[in-house]
């Protein structure tokens, strides 16, 4: 199934290659379950492109973050997107970082991507993975110490288990069949609601413990396609001095507060922040809360309608109850 889509993907790219500057997609990484982004610039490299549930990365950041591939006049950059990734693209268009006519969007419906850590956790001992294959909703891993078979659902990333936009919301071409979401839209924030039923003390304790693991590597920030400050994030700068270098929870929390509040009303819940965290901190959960808030207060979902202005960058004089 995945190889078929991969084949179609390669064919599609073959066809559009003459009109595009480059194609941003995925290729195999250092083993079967680790995929990495690739920028295809010449036809000979098209065969590198793959699609499978290990294609975890949201590639849309590469469209805007320096040094980005900028298309020459009259040409476009092609990008492969999953459902969640497509919302990031829309959000970037919304905020004026991208022009729709400068990109060619290859949409791929996605039924969930795999958390490699969850796979590794299933193995007796970490060891070399020889082969990984997904069949009938199960992952079969052949590794140096034996063979492991795991139901796919058990190793999906948390973001995928709560995905309601598995199909690209914007695209120039779609490859693969439309898939149905794992959950209903009204259940989107049930984790948030459940968490909010805990006492304030419990919540505070949870974040104190969880965030104390943070090593401030800023992977969550840099992987976020909408964290557009890049090299000039105030969490790192001395002027203005918002955050100190002190290894205290206060400074860590402040960094995450900056990250989250800067994304309030902008986050498309692609979950990259959480996926890339080497310390397995549920970074997206903070943003889920803010999205729940902006949805409730402003009926706004980021990255759906490219004509809308994010709610905190505009106002409504007639708003009551605020």
């Amino acid at each position: 199934m995945w190889s078929e889509i991969t084949k179609k993907l390669q064919e599609t790219v073959q066809n559009i290659m003459p009109q595009v500057e480059a194609v941003i997609g995925w290729e195999r990484g250092f083993n079967e379950i680790r995929i990495k982004p690739v920028v295809i610039k010449k036809e000979g490299d098209i065969s590198k492109l793959v699609w499978n549930p290990f294609c975890v990365q949201n590639l849309s950041g590469y469209l805007v973050k320096s040094p980005a591939v900028i298309p020459r006049e009259g040409r476009r950059v092609a990008i492969c997107v999953k459902g969640c990734d497509s919302r990031s693209v829309t959000a970037l268009i919304q905020e004026g970082f991208l022009k729709r006519d400068q990109i060619f969007i290859i949409g791929i419906p996605c039924s969930g991507t795999v958390d490699w850590r969850k796979v590794m956790k299933r193995l007796e001992r970490s060891s070399v993975i020889h082969r990984a294959e997904i069949k009938d909703g199960r992952l079969m891993v052949e590794h140096a110490e034996g063979v492991e078979e795991i139901p796919l659902r058990e190793i999906l990333l948390r973001r995928c288990l709560r995905c309601v936009y598995p199909n690209p919301t914007v695209s120039d071409v779609v490859i693969g069949e439309t898939v149905s979401p794992h959950i209903e839209k009204e259940d989107l924030y049930k984790d948030v609601e459940a968490f909010e039923r805990k006492s304030l003390d419990e919540r505070r304790k949870f974040w104190a413990e969880t965030l104390s693991r943070c090593i401030r590597c800023y992977a969550c920030r840099n992987a976020c396609p909408l964290c557009i400050c890049q090299d000039w994030c105030i969490a790192e700068r001395r002027d203005p001095k918002w955050v100190t270098q002190k290894p205290t929870l206060k400074d860590i929390l402040l960094f995450h507060g900056i990250h989250a509040l800067h994304l309030a009303g902008r986050c498309t819940e692609c979950g990259e922040c959480e996926r890339v965290c080497p310390m397995e901190i549920p970074v997206m959960f903070i943003k889920e809360k803010l999205n729940e808030t902006t949805l409730r207060l402003f009926s706004y979902e980021a990255g759906i309608d490219s004509n809308l202005v994010p709610p905190l960058l505009t106002f409504n004089p007639h708003e009551t109850g605020i």
Partner: protein, 154 residues
């Protein structure tokens, strides 16, 4: 922190007020001119407009040991800069909704509108907010200054 001395009765709370220069700061002045008595916990920071108020100021204050943060500006549609407070109120509302998720009481952050003429209203706002913060007590916050990496006691 070490200078966070307390008054005799040990009850003073750490409350920050961010007041816009045009309305609420004037309103607080009006209250003063009218000798309207108020609790003494509040410390006012003058900002040009509530639109200047990055919610992160309040956020930083609240995770740094403030027991309460009060923001006050011109009434909606009466902003000296016409729309600053309309942007601001959205941002404040989001922050207010967000704080409890981290375990900080929503009531520790309050925003309101007081015009330069409303000295009495200012008195009421300060009195009520101070009362609420006293009711909530010290902001337990996080164990903020724990040095995480050097910590060997975990």
């Amino acid at each position: 922190m070490e200078e966070r001395e307390k008054t005799k009765n040990n009850t003073e709370m750490r409350i920050l007020g961010f007041l816009c220069n045009w309305c609420s700061y004037g309103g607080a002045d009006t209250a003063g001119v009218s000798r309207l008595k108020q609790p003494t916990d509040l410390r006012i920071i003058r900002i040009p407009c509530t639109g200047r108020m990055d919610p992160l100021f309040a956020f930083k204050a609240l995770i740094s040991g403030a027991d309460g943060v009060l923001v006050s500006g011109c009434h909606p549609k009466d902003c000296h800069y016409s729309v600053g407070n309309l942007y601001a109120r959205r941002r404040f509302e989001v922050l207010k909704d967000f704080l409890p998720f981290l375990g900080i009481e929503s009531d520790r952050f309050h925003y309101t509108w007081v015009s330069a003429s409303e000295g009495q209203r200012w008195q009421e706002v300060v009195t009520e907010f101070s009362r609420r913060i006293h009711e909530l007590g010290r902001n337990p916050g996080f164990d903020m200054n724990t040095n995480l990496v050097n910590s060997e006691a975990r």
